[in-house]
Symmetry: C2
């Protein structure tokens, strides 16, 4: 009861099913919800590029801007590619569904597995980066970063268990404050730079020395690291049905607006970092260093850190909407357990939310709350599903050939080729750093999904009524298992007589003297139910009972035996330990036996 | 199934009840079984005296002999006192029963609690001392002593689970080898001493200095430590029924012979230790030091160590016979859970054996396998039950006044006074060293025993047929809970129809479209059972069902509702995770609801 009240307090009262349709997002709240995941990567993508380049010395940092421009180009291609997907899949176009429809089951399950992993990493990476924004501003909190991460994941999970519209409200303000804050940072930065009064970032304590040569491989690695900026783009296409009608139009508009804002902020941040000559440091983020110099510390600096933290932590929210929804799709198709397909009493897919929260918290703890350590795992999943999804669209247009199919093929083909190329770069340059883990897990997940599907199909086949002639005729015997005669047994006898007028009682004799006493009581209180006494030379209760059932069922045909077990229910938990759990024992022994049904008849003790 | 085979291998095949009477001990095997606990203390009692005396310097060690003589005197008194008990209680005279019969329930439960603790400590102390004999001979094993102790406890427990006669066989040889070996040690020691060629024990590495003054308190402490020699004497009286007929005569004879041997060995060992000037050491037992000098190392030394180890480890066996038997008596009287009252399929009280083994192993681990650390806890329980038992006999003779009652009173009175005095000495001198723990636990146990008894009495009263008029008339409704219609549900419908011709099916609507499909299938395959559709605005399965049951039961009188749940049973364990555990959920919710009976109808999947 207490647990139940706690759930109500955290999650809220149940919502009726009829309310489901009204829990939808307007363009303004929708932009905010999807903005968090899309834009928040601006807070760390530039830094990840710089962190790779710095290995070749400070001079190499000047390559950040061209790399950033290349990534912005990929973003542009992917956005136009996904706008087509939204139009083609108004019911919600998860990459899983798109790939499965057009390229077949294996491609679909590959995309699905990649996305499940990706969403989990989105939560882990975003929350870690958000807490990094916090600990950059307040370095004393650095040692407690993992605890803060897990707390943040818990808060988001509970928010999502409350339901989707309330999530929209919760996330709208921070998203817009973030967009405003970063525009201000970039604009003020460029103005101060043009005016010539932008101070250079304080030089790092240790002088920067080159560890590696500036090879093409290193440049590709930097590109692969920055490519995490693209994560979250697919979320809008996946979540079309979360928008208010007209869903497709709203989703396409939101995706375009978001993409434009993202490219602007990402390029602006990267350009400003290059101009200022920011060098990445372990204990302070690049954005924190820039904001400190541009605003000269003070309230605006803390504003940037606060909104960075908020939007990053909330970025995890997209995944908390998408993971359960994808799990629902996959569960509906029979590839994931049924439990992911049922809505909780707040109309959300509670099981998916809980699983995601737990997995992400485990990842954060395992990688010690380090964004940088998680990045190599991140991009493989994202670009796998991107590529499969774009390629699916190409296949679709070629198959259906709608008006203008040739430019549609061109658009999605460019998307597929671009993201495919990025996938190859990411996998090749990050393989030993951790990408291999994701490759292995995707493989394992695909096998698991096929196994689950095959089980469900098999069960459906076994239970199918197709060509079913109805059950064979059955005989039925009711046996009350009595160890004594008391009020509980008498009530069980009364019950057994309503089940069958021929009910019998069975008594397993462990002590002949006791049998005599029971038989005496039976004369008076046995309600006329005949008592069968079974001898038990080895003092086993079960053996003689099983033999007797065998004996009854030995004749031809289907003969169901119902074993009625009188069981008294103690009033307090510790009292249960003082009684033999005979009913439990017998149920366990008979569970896998055909045509035997065990029925407890509880007798409730008063105290 | 595999677990079952392992049990068979360890414990043996089940024995029929009829064989119970033949599993008895002859005088020769009985002496061996009870010898182990009685005599084995000879291996450490002398050492415990010396360990206290040494605190006052090497000179104080000369007091060991008079202290030993005093203890031998107590042994003599107690033996004659207990021989009377055996005669008076031919059915087995546990101190618990004797005290309860003559001094009332509280005294009985105090003695019982004291004995339960005592038996547990017997196992822990004996096994620790046995492994000390091993590690004295092979010092390299000293670091692994706790692991060896736990292994030994496990072996004894399994031996006991196999049954009592086989135990007798197992223990006969080591007991007689031990008696022979110690007689040889003492006799050879005295002869070599008389001949003047007995070398003094090598002096300890560190010179012995006095830490404390030789006060009367220290002497009493040494006496209290040595008094552990008496443990196990009560076991013979407790186990009268384990002897072959004539049980009483055999038990009295065995007790007298045992007592005589014990006094001889204990006094001989103590005297020889004094003559040789043995100083106790941490890493080698006193007996080991003596045997090394007397036999000059070699085969006879290792013989002594081996039989010491064996008899000490086997001493635990007495407790493994007594603890379960006492638990059986207390369970029969309703003070311990019923589970202690049932014999396993090898005719032994399996639950008591398992509980004792686990508790003793925990104690050994907690006290790091140190005999010396456990000793202060040991004697309090023993002498509490001794005193209560002897006092009970006094009360009994005064009450019944049989021929010669006055000398009987004298004998048992002397026993009670002596053991009572020892109890006061033990409790006073060892209180802060650990005796307080035992006092606290005895108190807690007594409260627990009373609580259990009161629960059982209450249950018996609630279930009693005394003045029972029979159950009130009942109405009965059968409801099949259907979430769909498939072969499993059809079989459940068939079953429900045999229970009641008016059986109905209940379907909780979560999705109206699905309802339509189910209703269509119902037309064809529903076996004519009417389908009640319950709406569920909050998607809860349970809420509408409970409301419907409330509605049915709202009318006057007793109305039992049987909920039939079709449940398919998966063929492999992992498949269970892929299905909603609806049946379990509903059973849990209805378990504490009156007049509702839940019946699973299993449908077995083939693969």
């Amino acid at each position: 009861m207490r647990l139940h009240s706690l759930k109500r307090l955290l999650v809220g009262r149940p919502l009726p099913t009829a309310q489901a349709r009204h829990e939808r997002l307007s363009k303004v709240t929708g932009l905010a919800v999807f903005a968090s995941d899309n834009l928040s990567s601006v807070a760390y993508a530039t830094e990840e590029i710089l962190r790779v380049l710095i290995l070749a010395g400070a001079a190499a940092l000047s390559l950040a801007m061209p790399i950033g421009a290349a990534i912005a180009g990929v973003i542009g291609v992917v956005i136009f590619s996904y706008r087509q997907t939204i139009a083609a899949y108004p019911q919600g176009a998860s990459d899983y569904i798109v790939a499965k429809d057009n390229l077949g089951t294996l491609a679909g399950l590959t995309a699905g597995s990649a996305l499940l992993i990706d969403y989990t990493l989105t939560v882990a990476v975003s929350v870690s980066a958000g807490i990094a924004a916090l600990t950059s501003a307040i370095p004393q909190l650095f040692p407690y970063r993992v605890a803060f991460c897990i707390l943040a994941i818990g808060i988001i999970a509970v928010g999502n268990l409350r339901g989707v519209r309330e999530s929209g409200k919760l996330f709208a303000l921070p998203s817009y404050l973030f967009i405003g804050g970063f525009f201000a940072l970039i604009v003020v930065g460029f103005i101060r730079n043009a005016a010539g009064n932008l101070p250079a970032v304080e030089p790092s304590a240790a002088p920067v020395t080159a560890f590696q040569a500036l090879t093409a491989f290193l440049v590709l690695r930097a590109f692969a690291s920055g490519a995490v900026a693209l994560t979250g783009i697919e979320a809008v296409a996946d979540g079309v049905t979360a928008f208010k009608p007209p869903e497709v139009k709203n989703a396409r508009t939101v995706l375009l607006v978001l993409g434009t804002i993202m490219m602007t902020l990402f390029l602006g941040t990267t350009a400003l970092a290059s101009l200022m000559g920011v060098v990445p440091r372990e204990e302070e983020t690049v954005v924190s260093q820039m904001a400190w110099q541009v605003f000269g510390g003070g309230a605006l600096y803390y504003y940037i850190q606060t909104v960075s933290m908020l939007i990053l932590i909330l970025a995890a929210n997209t995944a908390f909407a998408d993971f359960p929804r994808l799990a629902f799709f996959m569960s509906r198709d029979g590839y994931l357990p049924r439990q992911f397909g049922t809505r909780g009493d707040r109309l959300v897919f509670s099981n998916g939310i809980v699983i995601l929260g737990v997995s992400a918290a485990a990842l954060v703890a395992l990688f010690d709350g380090s964004t940088h350590a998680l990045i190599p795992l991140y991009a493989v999943g994202v670009f796998t599903s991107f590529t499969l999804s774009q390629a699916s669209m190409v296949r679709r247009w070629i198959g259906s050939r709608p008006p203008g199919w040739w430019w549609r093929v061109g658009l999605n083909g460019a998307g597929a080729a671009t993201t495919g190329l990025v996938l190859v770069v990411v996998a090749a340059t990050k393989f030993l750093e951790g990408a291999w883990i994701v490759v292995v897990i995707i493989g394992a997940l695909i096998i698991m999904l096929f196994t689950i599907k095959s089980h469900y199909s098999d069960v459906a086949h076994q239970l199918s009524l197709e060509g079913y002639e109805g059950p064979p005729p059955m005989r039925h015997t009711v046996l009350v298992l009595a160890g004594d005669l008391h009020r509980g047994v008498v009530e069980a006898l009364q019950y057994a007589k309503t089940l069958s007028p021929d009910a019998k009682a069975v008594y397993v004799e462990l002590d002949p003297e006791r049998t005599r006493r029971v038989e005496e009581k039976w004369q008076k209180h046995g309600l006329g139910v005949p008592l069968v006494v079974l001898t038990s030379p080895y003092r086993s209760l079960l053996g003689p009972l099983l033999d007797y059932i065998d004996h009854l069922q030995a004749r031809d045909g289907k003969h169901v035996v119902t074993i009625v077990i009188p069981e008294f229910i103690a009033a307090r938990w510790w009292q249960h330990m003082l009684h033999n759990q005979t009913a439990l024992l017998i149920k366990g022994a008979l569970l896998f036996r055909k045509n035997v049904i065990v029925t407890d008849v509880p007798y409730h003790l008063r105290h």
